[in-house]
Subunit: 208 residues, 4 copies
């Protein structure tokens, strides 16, 4: 298995999961035409859930490439770990639609829905950290390991990320919108972090 | 991140969004078999919406390649801008189905549906212009900028496009079918424009 | 636009359309567990429609590659023609589900459904012939045209194909199952034709 | 047809089928918010079916690459056999949703659903063995056949796999959960088998 094939398959799953999010959005049924605008506004939990999940999957895709562009060899455990990540990513549309369905209710259902959502994102984040830990645990898969300081910094970053997702999960039982806002902020942060940090110089060896 | 990977992921989203359009089309329920032909004709707003959105996404795909075949380096802001474009493109099936659902009603609902549709297309067009502005704002991403006259001409073309989409958005409140017809005409125009204009000579450097 | 990118995007649409066919298949609702087997058998029109459409799209994919592996340059009209083909292919799931829904009724609805199906397949076949006619009308896109005898034979083959699809369309008003059987036979024929005819020797120049 | 194109198309179908599994998961409708957690737990047959089918398709994908990375030439029968495999793989979401729908019922419906599921997996496994048998029946497609001992061992492995799937199919009429557990165990076994067995040394010639 070459990295290219693993990435192509993973990209397929990312692209489909990110695009499937929208098919949960159904046209609202209204009797009088003048009510459609209001009915469309009332779908705001759907738009919010769509936007956050789109960013979340988009950021996982960005980070996936960031890691895999340094991987020159794919072994069995990495295949299984990657399949585990895809399992969670492909699952994201379900908690997304549950949140979209119940976020507007505000009460216990919204908090339960957000807890499901937060749990799935946390599971994806932990699996992703597992991928990073595996590919950097010796120099067999990368051929040239990033310097220890970079690896340490990245692990700290992953750990902080997991901690924040765990906090977001806990926040679900306090306030569903707040928990969703934390997920949104995290995704935005990672997206812009990708946007400002220069490409990892160690990546260039295998890039092409 | 290489251009190839960005394009492959974007192509995946384009291909899925363009193909998902049809799953909103449901077989009409009729009691007597002789009524099916009529019921299938009554779905004309669905066919119209499908056709226009198919062309719109197809043209965005064509233009996306036209721009990205000249891009030799992908930086962070370009990644985020491209993710923004994909967000709008992946969202297009929703306004499409809202239009398909309400266009036949003719009244206020049809106009509201078209305004939603026009707004999303306008947002996609503005994001696309942002991508073009970013990749041509200096020679870092293209390595060889198109001559100033070509860049100016393309920017004028983008600005006119955005203006027409804004007009189509305004027309939604006047006549929904007319607004949809403008979107159809725009997509046809861009498709045939791609079909007659020779490939940009500056593209050839990075083409291969 | 390189052939590779056109093919990758087209393959994406083919793969999605062929895979989306199954999501129209819904689990039957039964009250008593012992009735499920019977209810699953009663879905035979769905399985038949799924199988035929799967083969039809699969064969279009095979033929698409057969033609495009000889194409070394993509021009504007080819892009637009290819987008037209994808429009019909991505649309196939709709007539498929209409046929699946009404084939079991046997009467006028089944015939109307098959006429819709036959019309879409015929339109796809005509568009495909248009692609072949365009890429072989001079040596600009292929760089090395197949010998006149091969081109003539292929055109005759396309014309016969279109004639058979037209006959199948006409047969829809006589017998819906018979018309579907003709589509099935055509798809099987093309699949095995691909399987026995050796790869076109002229293809090898651009193959790799 | 090059191996690369066949793999890209097949990967597309695998990625879509594996990602489509989740769209069958619908948010449960509850009246009181406090009931959502319970309603989400009640969906356990859906999660179980999703997980098993995800692993099954994932493992077919892994094995597909394992075989095709050794294939240097694609002939007609291989194309048709591969299309047959994709037909079954793309069909898997249907038995999955039938199982998800009826597994919780426990009775005759659950057993019928599992028999449908087991039959489709068995058909996919037999088709896959057909692919392996075809590509190894002489040295035309692989250019360098694996040594007879390796081929023999792989055929024994395929035969055992088919036998276990046949047993799982038979078990459906005894106990639906047990049959699903066998499918789960098989998929896990193959996944970890891939994860521990070193890459086939004969694969390396065509790899890259």
């Amino acid at each position: 298995m070459t990295t290219g094939r693993l990435e192509a398959f993973s990209d397929g799953v990312f692209a489909i999961a990110i695009t499937l999010l929208v098919i949960e959005l159904r046209p609202p049924e209204v009797d009088r035409g003048s009510e459609l605008a209001g009915a469309l506004w009332d779908l705001w939990p759907n738009y919010a859930a769509y936007l956050v999940s789109f960013l979340v999957i988009g950021v996982i895709w960005l980070n996936h490439h960031r890691v895999f562009q340094q991987v020159v060899e794919v072994d069995g455990p990495l295949l299984v770990l990657n399949l585990g990540l895809l399992l969670w990513v492909a699952f994201i549309p379900f908690p997304t639609v549950v949140v979209a369905h119940y976020l507007g209710d505000g009460g216990a259902a919204a908090r339960t829905a957000m807890a499901l959502y937060g749990g799935v994102i946390l599971a994806a984040a932990i699996t992703f950290s597992g991928i990073f830990a595996w590919v950097t645990h010796d120099d067999r898969l990368l051929h040239r390991l990033p310097p220890p300081s970079v690896r340490r910094a990245t692990r700290v970053r992953f750990t902080i990320g997991i901690a924040v997702y765990a906090v977001a999960l806990g926040l679900s039982w306090v306030s569903a919108p707040l928990a969703l806002a934390v997920h949104f902020a995290m995704a935005l942060y990672y997206a812009f972090d990708q946007a400002t940090v220069p490409a990892d110089p160690t990546a260039e060896v295998t890039d092409g």
